[in-house]
């Protein structure tokens, strides 16, 4: 869940108390160990005399050796491939792993929650009576007080922490469905995973439903084997095991004095202990505990009442493994990621919302899980996403701009727009279908899609254009001249200035589909529009009668056509500017500026201006 892959068990040889430390890297072992030395010194006012571990390099390296030497700690390692000499720690791992597995299975939790289960397992094992301590608990042996069992709850069960103090207002629910994920080491409270937000809350005020396991309802997916690699891979695990020996001051000194030197001497490799011996003879703690003051035994039996409850809390999960409530449901299978990667997916989040019975407007949100090794938890990693409803209000009815012609043809809105454009082209007699002549260049084309918007941003209409790829034209063959004159800015200003000084009306005209009116001097062949190929004549090409957008000579063709039309109604082109046309008949004068498809027209009277516009 948090990038952890390993864990380190530290076992107190005397009290059998277990500490577990999740590690993301084996190289973190040493720093963890050093911190643990400081922890022992502060908490128990004692020093660690010796460390028993296996041959793992994480213990046997120069930094660690220097540390042990400078602290006067004897390092006792098992012989290579003789993990039996580290039997106590190895057996503890098995115990912890058994409990961990049971906790996960019972609650149907995904393996990603193994860290929580690990801490809870160590927490429970430390509070369970053990035979080696003569039915006393490691907790009692370490702290000399009886552990409390009243607060233990079934791991992974449903719980409802009181969240009213963080509620935005008083009308929201005071709690929501959470999954109990163990006991906080820093707080006096329970850790609860809120399913809706995937947060972990620590709370003291929690109501439990110990018969209901929320994850059992969500997933019936078998655990991903990759996520359990850390249990299978023995080599990995045993190397991160360490048995530590704590020598206590106070009452424990009695134990040390009862068996003076028993602990340090017994495990000398090859000496007192034959190779291949099991963990059994290496349990000097049991005679030690047995010979302990009877007061501790009495205390243990005195706590028999409370001892009943942990059987509910921990043995329960163990026992009900076979008959666990893992009812198969119709939930979608989880897509499990790698071992260290977060395993929760968007489907889980969605179904958890449903299971809480909230009336949230949940629409399916597609989430791609982010995977990286960084320990920081992000929403992307947890598969959380919230639909942004406020943006979706406007965009719903508008078909998006299609990425390809194929997309456009499947969309009814765009299809209709394309059909209209095609009909207009055919109606204009833009081209005639001919069979492809040999040796000519056929110009390709493409569809252009645009949203035409109103001034307020709402959709006006879907606009499509069939344009030619002018760059597929070949000079000399498909076109000769492409130059099209434009107005000089000075001419515009002179005309405007003249019109102002004479108080003439000025009119601005815009020619629609200007380029389509151009007549071509050259013969140009082009392909049939994509999606509108004549089914009876698929191999034929279009011979253009009219100019079209995208052709290199289109502006020139248009200018030529319009100029000749102007000449026919009496305008003359000026010599100084090819885009200025003057009309002069008696007292009537008109100036016309042609800027591609924009026209500025001014005339000596309103009436005459209207006449000219009509003539155009």
């Amino acid at each position: 869940m948090s990038g952890y892959k390993y864990y380190l068990i530290i076992l107190d040889d005397c009290s059998h108390y277990i500490w577990v430390f999740p590690l993301s890297l084996k190289s973190d072992t040493f720093s963890t160990l050093a911190n643990f030395f400081a922890y022992v010194r502060t908490q128990f006012a004692t020093t660690i005399k010796s460390v028993q571990c296996d041959n793992g390099r994480e213990f046997d390296n120069s930094t660690a050796r220097t540390f042990f030497l400078s602290h006067g700690v004897t390092l006792r390692m098992s012989c290579p491939y003789t993990s039996q000499q580290n039997g106590k720690a190895e057996r503890s791992i098995r115990t912890i792993n058994n409990v961990l597995r049971s906790l996960l299975f019972q609650a149907s939790l995904p393996p990603a929650y193994w860290i929580e289960a690990l801490h809870t397992a160590a927490y429970l094992v430390n509070r369970l009576p053990t035979k080696t301590l003569a039915s006393s608990t490691p907790y009692f042996h370490l702290y000399h007080t009886q552990p409390s069992y009243d607060h233990l709850r079934v791991f992974g069960c449903a719980c409802y922490p009181n969240m009213s103090s963080t509620a935005p207002h008083k009308l929201v629910p005071r709690s929501s469905l959470c999954v109990f994920l163990g006991y906080s080491s820093e707080h006096k409270g329970y850790r609860c995973l809120e399913l809706e937000s995937n947060r972990i809350l620590t709370s003291r005020h929690v109501v439990f439903d110990e018969t209901f396991f929320p994850f059992a309802d969500m997933s019936t997916t078998p655990m991903a084997s990759s996520a359990l690699d850390f249990l299978i891979d023995d080599d990995e695990m045993t190397s991160s095991i360490l048995g530590a020996k704590l020598v206590h001051t106070g009452t424990s000194t009695q134990h040390v004095s009862t068996h003076p030197g028993a602990q340090p001497e017994t495990p000398t490799p090859g000496d007192a202990e034959p190779l291949g011996s099991s963990a059994r003879p290496r349990a000097p703690g049991s005679p030690a505990a047995g010979s302990l003051a009877p007061s501790s035994l009495a205390a243990a039996s005195g706590g028999a009442g409370p001892l009943g409850s942990p059987t509910v809390g921990s043995a329960g999960p163990l026992g009900s493994l076979a008959a666990g409530p893992r009812a198969p449901g119709p939930s979608p299978p989880l897509t499990e990621a790698g071992a260290a990667a977060p395993v929760r997916t968007a489907q889980v989040a969605a179904s958890s919302v449903q299971s809480t019975g909230r009336t949230l407007a949940t629409r399916p949100v597609h989430v791609t899980l982010v995977e990286n090794a960084h320990s920081m938890r992000t929403r992307g990693k947890a598969g959380l996403a919230q639909p942004v409803d406020r943006l979706n209000l406007h965009a719903a009815p508008v078909s998006p701009l299609p990425r390809s012609v194929r997309d456009a043809l499947t969309d009814p809105n765009w299809r209709a727009a394309m059909q209209a454009e095609f009909d207009a082209l055919i109606g204009n007699d833009t081209w005639s279908l001919v069979s492809r002549p040999s040796g000519v260049n056929v110009v390709t084309g493409k569809w252009i899609f645009r949203h035409k918007l109103h001034a307020d941003g709402s959709l006006d209409r879907y606009k499509t254009h069939w344009v030619f790829r002018g760059f597929t034209q070949r000079p000399g063959l498909d076109y000769d001249e492409t130059f099209s004159p434009v107005v000089k800015p000075a001419t515009i200003r002179v005309i405007l200035s003249l019109a102002l000084s004479q108080d003439w009306p000025i009119h601005q005209l815009d020619v629609k589909n200007a380029f389509l009116h151009g007549t071509l001097e050259e013969t140009v062949y082009c392909v049939q529009p994509t999606g509108f190929v004549d089914p009876s004549r698929p191999g034929m090409v279009c011979r253009l009668n009219k100019s079209l957008y995208g052709l290199k000579q289109a502006p020139r063709a248009w200018h030529h056509r319009f100029a000749s039309h102007l000449a026919s109604i009496g305008f003359t082109e000026t010599k100084s500017d090819g885009s200025l046309f003057i009309y002069r008949r008696g007292s009537d004068t008109a100036y016309l500026l042609l800027y591609v498809d924009d026209i500025v027209l001014t005339a000596s009277s309103d009436q005459f201006l209207r006449q000219v516009i009509a003539a155009l």
């Binding site: 800015p489 000075a490 200003r493 002179v494 405007l496 200035s497 003249l498 102002l500 000084s501 108080d503």
Partner: protein, 154 residues
């Protein structure tokens, strides 16, 4: 283009604001003049990283000179170095943008006036260019009261 009783006002205000927006200079410090009078642009200095952006901006400013005779000279100056822009040229270009920031609403006013005469004003500096020793000249053509054509050229 707006018409009023006095005449007609041609302005490219929105286009000016668009240029400033596009260059991320819409919050820049306004500047009251378009050019530093005491230094001349020359061809040395380190090359600008994005020459294409420089050219695009110079072109945009050139289009702006349609209604802005006040920046005609300096735009012509920066356009001289379009082929190989240097940091000093970019600084001059930024200076123009700062000037535009302070004067986005300026434009060309065409007044009611009888087109009595055509008046041309012109000036040149003699071999003013530090690199080529060529002259820069400019002219402004008035038709009556209205400025209709202007240019600045090296």
């Amino acid at each position: 283009m707006t018409r009023s009783a006095q005449g007609m006002f041609l302005s490219q205000r929105q286009y000016t604001l668009d240029i400033l927006e596009r260059t991320g200079m819409s919050a820049c410090k306004p500047c009251s003049t378009p050019v530093d009078l005491h230094s001349k642009l020359s061809e040395d200095g380190t090359r600008v990283d994005d020459a294409t952006q420089y050219r695009s901006l110079a072109g945009a400013l050139q289009y702006l000179t349609f209604t802005r005779p006040d920046i005609a000279f300096v735009v012509q100056q920066i356009c001289l170095y379009m082929h190989d822009p240097r940091q000093s040229h970019l600084a001059a270009l930024k200076r123009i943008l700062c000037y535009l920031q302070s004067t986005p609403t300026l434009g060309l006013t065409l007044r009611h006036s009888p087109p009595a005469e055509l008046v041309v004003y012109t000036d040149a500096d003699w071999a003013g260019c530090p690199d080529t020793r060529r002259s820069t000249f400019g002219y402004a053509v008035f038709l009556g009261d209205n400025l209709v054509s202007w240019s600045s050229k090296r």
